[in-house]
């Protein structure tokens, strides 16, 4: 299956933020882990640009949705990101929005009322 992000980037608007917040709800991760986790959890339907995830992480941290800490693991310094209480609220809000949006889209896609009306 082709990744959504490469076939139609417009569909990706807001999706990376939602996925990152959701993944970090369970445990803290560093950038490489986050990108790999998104790929695996979505069966490679959603793939983020490996490098361009960092500006989003930095922006979320700046907004207070994420907290970061530097840790040395196996001799390498890493920056781990974790969900903050503010990020948890944002995740709840985004997840609700996403749920309503997908329900509405499903309703439109399976119904044929509009076509009949035209």
């Amino acid at each position: 299956m082709r990744p959504v992000g490469t076939t139609n980037p417009a569909f990706m608007n807001g999706v990376p933020e939602l996925l990152i917040l959701r993944l970090l709800r369970s445990r803290e991760m560093y950038g490489y882990e986050i990108v790999q986790a998104i790929r695996q959890e979505t069966d490679e339907v959603v793939t983020l640009g490996e490098g361009v995830v960092y500006p989003l992480l930095h922006a979320l941290e700046r907004d207070g949705a994420l907290a970061s800490r530097r840790a040395v693991v196996n001799g390498r310094s890493r920056i781990y990101y974790a969900l903050s209480p503010r990020g948890a609220s944002r995740l709840t809000e985004l997840a609700g929005l996403w749920s309503r949006l997908t329900q509405a889209l499903q309703q439109v896609m399976k119904g044929d009322g509009y076509a009949e009306g035209v």
């Binding site: 640009g49 490098g51 361009v52 960092y54 500006p55 890493r78 920056i79």
Partner: protein
Amino acid sequence: MPREFELLRERLLRAGIGAAQAGRYIAELKDHLDDLAAEEQQAGWSPNDAHARAMRRLGYVDALAEAMIARREFRTWSARAPSAVYIVAPSLVLAIATALWLAALVGVCTWLKGHAALGPADWPERIRPFADGAAWFSNTTLAMVLGWGLAASAIRQRAPLFWPMLGLVVLAAVGAAVQVGVTLPVGGAHGEIELGSGPGGSPFGFSGYWGRFVVDLAATATPLALFHLWRSSHLPPADREPDQTS
């Protein structure tokens, strides 16, 4: 990928991204590249091929730079409002620093005057070295130190030359114009703070207003101009992508 990272750093700085922000981004990208290369090697690729594949997956300089530059919240104030940062702020800091040390001097004088045990004729002499030193520093060195700070900030941020240079001219003009004189209250007389302003003295001599202006400007603008000359010949141009085919 050192050259690509160097190029990326230059591009981010010139676009107004803060130096610390750019440094952190690049450090994380380097770690990410190492992880990707290790993953590719585990998949059976040779070290060279693994590195090339990792680079392709990480993204090229254009995409990596654009992802950060598109976020305006990471732009520094010197990029958002250069006239405020390079023109207004240094002169404001100069005025505030001058006002602060004068206020401290008045405070010390007032406090000492209230302690009669020191003797009314004795106490001004005790603070004369402090008062004279502060006046000398304020009149001759403070504007130059602020100018060096401004130049260092502009160099670190790879700022275009126009605003920092104009800022140094304004700072040298203000620094040379604002001169402070202090007369301590000796022998029961009142003390005085004299604040002189405006150009005076010979336009071609190295004393008085013009002398200070020229010396301050030369001392602060020369390092900035030299760095720009060096950068144009030693650092890669930030508007050209290196070879992406490897």
